[in-house]
């Protein structure tokens, strides 16, 4: 096989060569001492053929010459001189056969040599490129790999025996899925996967696999070229962590700005609880006891206790630190959940928030807390845009709807002064702010959150007054696509 260096001679060849030597002696003996009427010397052809695998091109020339010389010697011993008779004709025929065979073997050896040279060159090339290259047969067995695998610490034996066994079990389903897709489509596929090195450590690899097909379209081999992307993966993870921390910090900062309005929001149900409690005590002192009213009052206490607790839960969820956790969500619900947190803030700005949810649920795949953070930022932005404006309709409209191509859209429409050219160009850049105390991180982070969700966030001026900030997220259809 190609995996072994082809310049070496297989062990069985030496036996054949030895046999060829003995055969030459036997032929010489028969040819010299037995008067035959057939061209025994033709059999020297066998000797040349048998030794072809062992001999170099020069060896073949010598062997052919040697065989020819032996044939001539045998003739001279038997017939003395060169006379144009039948034995001479037989000698001529034998010599011709030996010569032709020698020539063919020589030529064959020459072409094999150049083939080997080409192969060596190819190997050298494959070993030089900074990628892990291997070829697999249709059954998945590896029949070639370049030297990079070993250089990067992978075990060649383990790869040859079962390379899929080295792939991290978590990455296998995605690979087999992609592979199935590529078999169906006939196109090359790329996959990211972790593969285990000889020392047991997993490394992230990015692989590209191309199938080679025969005339009938059957896959005869697959070439896999992979590169180590461990460093990139680590940098990505570190970046992701930093982003998550920054996102969290800005979220907490934003929440801090709302402390007063959140306190107000919790205080409302508390006031209702206290008042209802006192009403209850008063009812108990009135004769006759109004049981119906007392029951209703008590139920109200419970309902308002729950309400207060829900608000606290929402705030806690928003302030919690942790890895982003994506799940299937209804974007409508995400929007509805942030409204109570912002109502107090809206009242302070003497604005009302109007929610226009999509009539059907809007399934998406995302992180609830992060998306709420985006919404809070966009809505607060809208409210602040309206602060200096004296208008009759003082409301921010939050509308969710399905876009033309099925995406889930949320629009935050304000009636403020609208956006200037500079604003539209820069508003999503970090540290761009029009507020005296702003850090300019809010919208930049919003955009990165939305982009991490595979969506986009943009702003436009309204036909009338004000601006609309909106984002679109890809719809979620059950399985992750």
């Amino acid at each position: 096989m190609v995996t072994q260096s082809s310049s070496e001679v297989p062990p069985g060849a030496w036996l054949l060569a030895a046999f060829a030597g003995l055969l030459a002696i036997a032929i010489f003996a028969v040819d010299t001492y037995t008067p035959t009427h057939i061209a025994v010397a033709v059999l020297y052809v066998l000797v040349i053929l048998l030794s072809a695998n062992v001999l170099s091109r020069g060896g073949t020339v010598y062997a052919s010459a040697g065989c020819a010389a032996l044939a001539v010697i045998s003739y001279l011993v038997q017939h003395g001189a060169l006379t144009p008779d039948a034995p001479f004709a037989r000698l001529a025929m034998s010599l011709a056969a030996i010569g032709i065979t020698g020539f063919l073997v020589f030529r064959n050896q020459t072409s094999q040599m150049s083939l080997r040279a080409a192969e060596r060159e190819l190997r050298a090339t494959l070993d030089t490129i900074p990628a892990l290259v291997m070829r697999t047969r249709p059954d998945g067995a590896v029949d070639f790999m370049n030297a990079r695998w070993k250089a990067q610490g992978f075990s060649e034996q383990a790869l040859t025996s079962d390379w899929l066994g080295l792939v991290h079990p978590d990455d296998l389903p995605a690979i087999s899925e992609k592979r199935a897709e590529s078999i169906a489509s006939g196109e090359a596929y790329e996959a990211e996967m972790r593969m285990q090195r000889a020392d047991g450590e997993y490394r992230w690899l990015l692989s590209r696999t191309v199938a080679v097909r025969d005339e009938r379209g059957r896959v005869v081999a697959r070439y896999v070229a992979a590169s180590d992307i461990e460093d990139r993966k680590r940098a990505e993870a570190a970046l992701h962590k930093t982003q998550a921390e920054l996102t969290h910090v800005t979220r907490v900062t934003t929440l801090g700005e709302f402390t007063a309005s959140i306190a107000h929001e919790v205080n409302q149900p508390l006031a209702a609880i206290v008042t209802n409690g006192e009403v209850g005590l008063r009812l108990l002192e009135i004769e006759p006891l109004d049981k119906e009213e007392l029951l209703e009052t008590t139920r109200e206490i419970i309902a308002n206790g729950r309400r207060a607790s829900e608000i606290i839960t929402r705030v806690r969820a928003l302030s919690k630190k942790g890895q982003t956790r994506k799940a299937a969500l209804d974007l409508n619900e995400v929007v509805e959940d942030v409204i109570p947190l912002l109502r107090g803030h809206a009242l302070e700005h003497r604005l009302s928030l109007r929610l226009e949810p999509a009539s059907a649920p809007q399934p998406i795949w995302g992180d609830r807390v992060e998306l709420q953070q985006v919404l809070i930022n966009l809505i607060v932005n809208g409210m602040e845009a309206m602060a200096p404006v004296r208008s009759e309709i003082r409301e921010v409209v939050i509308r969710s709807r399905q876009g033309e191509s099925g995406e889930a859209l949320v629009e935050v429409v304000d009636g403020g002064a609208g956006l200037g050219d500079e604003d539209t160009r820069q508003m999503f850049n970090a540290f761009f702010t029009t507020k005296p105390n702003g850090m300019g991180m809010g919208l930049a982070i919003c955009r990165s959150i939305i982009e991490r969700h595979g969506g986009r966030l943009w702003a436009t001026n309204n036909a009338g007054r004000g601006a609309t900030l909106q984002f679109a997220l890809p719809p979620y259809r059950g399985v992750h696509s």
Binding site: A260, A263, H264, N267, Q268, P269, L270, A271, A272, I273, V274, T275, N276, E278, V279, R282, L283, E285, I286, E293, E296, T297, E300, A303, N304, R307, G344, A346, L347, E348, R350, S352, R394
Partner: protein, 214 residues
């Protein structure tokens, strides 16, 4: 517990403007336990659209309201000459806000959550204030009618007499005889239903009649 008398058909009414429905209901319940009628609204606009019954009462008003705020509503009501005493409620003790409200004539400013007794006391005091104002208003209307029944000369005499002038001085001022002044005085005392000069002075004060300074 003191139940205010419901004898009069127009018993006092507590108006409530609070956008948070559970708290609004709780307040209604609280006033019901002391037998007070309530009319509750979710926003300033709702209150302004409603036809308010003519009865003594008070207004419990949340500072933070959607659209028009409680403080704005206070101003609007003053412009509309609706003089319901106002008790403000606020979610967070905001001193500048309460100062503004009190300056604009609020009778009380309660932080949520408030004590029920504080709310009831504030409401009772506010209703009492409204009653007194209404009585005063009624009196004023009566006095004005009486005052309008006086002849121009009698009005002149009344103005000067209640300013502390003696009959002789009045006569001199108006170029009349003292007798004529006495006749006018007797007639106007009768018309105004005043028992004494002191009574008449009080009426003049209520009517805000004062002698124009020469």
């Amino acid at each position: 517990m003191t139940k205010p008398s419901q004898a009069d058909g127009d018993g006092p009414i507590v108006f409530i403007v609070e956008d948070d429905q559970p708290l609004r209901d709780a307040l209604r319940r609280l006033f019901r336990t002391v037998g007070l009628r309530t009319e509750a609204f979710g926003s300033a606009a709702e209150l302004l659209e409603a036809r308010l019954p003519d009865a003594p009462g008070c207004l419990i008003l949340d500072v933070r309201l959607p659209g028009v705020s409680g403080l704005d509503l206070q101003g609007d009501l003053a412009r509309l000459d609706i003089r319901l005493p106002i008790i403000f409620m606020t979610g967070h003790g905001d001193i500048p806000m309460s100062v503004r409200a009190m300056k604009a004539g609020a009778v009380d400013f309660l932080a949520k959550p408030f004590r029920d007794q504080d709310m009831l006391d504030a409401a009772a005091a506010a209703i009492e204030k409204d009653r007194a104002r209404r009585r005063h208003d009624e009196q004023l209307v009566g006095l004005r009618t009486l005052f309008e029944s006086l002849t121009p000369r009698e009005r002149e005499v009344l103005t000067l007499v209640t300013a502390g002038l003696m009959n002789k001085q009045v006569a001199h001022e108006l170029g009349l005889s003292e007798i004529t002044v006495k006749i006018h005085r007797g007639s106007l005392m009768k018309k105004m239903d005043a028992k004494s000069l002191a009574d008449l002075v009080k009426m003049a004060e209520t009517l805000q009649i004062s002698r124009a300074k020469p």
